[in-house]
């Protein structure tokens, strides 16, 4: 199926966009602009609003769109949370690889993300806690205590320069001349 819309009456011979391309364009746009109005996005992409709405709900059902998050620089708030990256080495389970270990870890709500990693260790876990102590307790009581986990190396994040493709330490200012030919 093709999606297209004639923008200015009959004048625009828009290149026909297939489903794959439309999906890619929607995703690229909402990845960094979750709050974009669907009507506006339809205008910008030159397609019908209903096409976007349909594709988005389909992608939600398919688990491609997993949620709409807000990127927050907590360091600029009063919140005192600490974030840790933990390198976990563990023994894979017969028939399940690392899936069972990963599941046991990701079920904790304070765990932000769990990745299977190539290289010197197996799982990379990011974890948020109120204090250093809280994280230390989690690592010793919940992680290291697990049978299949061989070792943990914990790193605390000291400063976030860039997160999710967004530079947090600098704001864009337009320094161009106001009028140029």
């Amino acid at each position: 199926m093709n999606y297209t819309r004639l923008l200015n009456d009959e004048t625009e011979r828009v290149k026909f966009m297939d489903k794959k391309e439309l999906r890619m364009k929607i995703l690229k746009n909402i990845e960094h602009e979750a709050r974009v109005n669907i009507g506006e996005l339809a205008v910008r992409l030159g397609v019908e609003e209903t096409d976007i709405a349909n594709e988005m709900s389909e992608m939600e059902n398919e688990g491609i769109i997993c949620g709409f998050l807000t990127l927050i620089d907590w360091d600029k708030t009063d919140s005192q949370t600490v974030t840790a990256l933990i390198e976990v080495r563990c023994t894979p389970q017969r028939g399940q690889g690392f899936d069972t270990v990963a599941e046991r870890i990701y079920k904790y709500p304070e765990v932000n993300s769990v990745y299977l990693i190539s290289g010197g260790f197996d799982l990379l876990v990011t974890l948020e806690g109120k204090t250093l102590q809280e994280i230390a307790t989690f690592v010793t009581d919940k992680l290291s205590a697990q049978e299949s986990i061989l070792s943990c190396a914990t790193h605390f994040i000291l400063r976030r320069y860039k997160d999710h493709g967004t530079i947090l330490t600098r704001k864009y200012t337009d320094e161009r001349q106001l009028i140029t030919p």
């Binding site: 923008l7 011979r13 106001l178």
Partner: protein, 391 residues
Amino acid sequence: MRNPIADRVEELKPSGIRKFFDIVSEMKDAISLGVGEPDFDTPWHIRDEGIYSLEKGRTFYTSNAGLKELRTEISKYIDRRGIAKYDPLKEVLVTVGGSEAIDLALRAMLNQDDEVIIPEPSYVSYVPCTIMAGGKPVVIDLKAKNEFRLTAEELEAAITPKSKVLILPFPNNPTGAIMERSDLEAIAKVIEKHDLFVVSDEIYSELSYKEEHVSIASLPGMRERTILINGFSKAFAMTGWRLGYCCGPEIIITQMTKLHQFCIMCAPTTSQYAAVEALKHGDADVAEMKEAYNQRRRFLMNEFKKMSLPCFEPYGAFYVFPDISEFGMTSDEFATELLKEEKVAVVPGTAFGASGEGFVRISYAYSIENLKIALDRINTFIQKRRNGKTS
């Protein structure tokens, strides 16, 4: 004391943009839609290559025509775009922006009083460069009803026995107009018939939103009579690096290189190294920026439609050129009032030639957020005028 200034310099009209710039810069907190350069920073990998070349101490001159490696990459790029094959050693010249190439091409080709056909509205330097090269500018006023494209009839009507060069400024600044293959084929016949040469300023070639841009140099018989001008400013967001280039037949490029050698020596070395990286690995950046511009373009056109502000749909560059003649003001008055009342800066169409009267140039080299604020204000401005509540 004698007048230190040459007559023909004194007689040159200053750019209409300059005057407007002075008013705008007086104004605090004005939102500008008047900028003719990308809002993106140069992609980091390109900047990094420039920095690296400085760290390596590459602070010397390059050969006059430019780094061989860069000329080779330019030649490959032009070929990759399906335009033509140019010998990097004899048919490519690296210049200080596309602007220098325009100047060189005219100075290399014009004899005293040769006529240069210049379609307007268009970039501000063609007329003065023609005059300084001793030529005579012959202006064609492009028509909104033709979407500001150049037609064969218009061209034919402008030709005299003295005509030598045609400037072809598409995709166009300020109108955003493009020339499609069939448009170019029609004028190519006229060009051949009257033995004209073409200076094709294709600096916005990567920003063409309908089909891929077609260069006149790619048409049969045109390569030999065309100086193709392009550069890094718009496609790679590298305006401040001041780097452009031109490709053409050896007989012309050799003479342009001679002029370039005497007045410039060579284009900035750091920029040239960065440009090699841009051509080798920058295609994805270009595509991404183009997509962003295209989204803004559609957004703007839709907003104009909502405001019932007439505007032909432009398919190139990053400008729209709405028709403001219904308000009974000149372009200059419209832009000035808009700036005073709503603090939005746009450029009067007349800054780009008399035929820009009744239009203003709006640039979309701004974020959507910025465009939204500015358009709200423009809407307020025009609705007030329509309701007859002018102050």
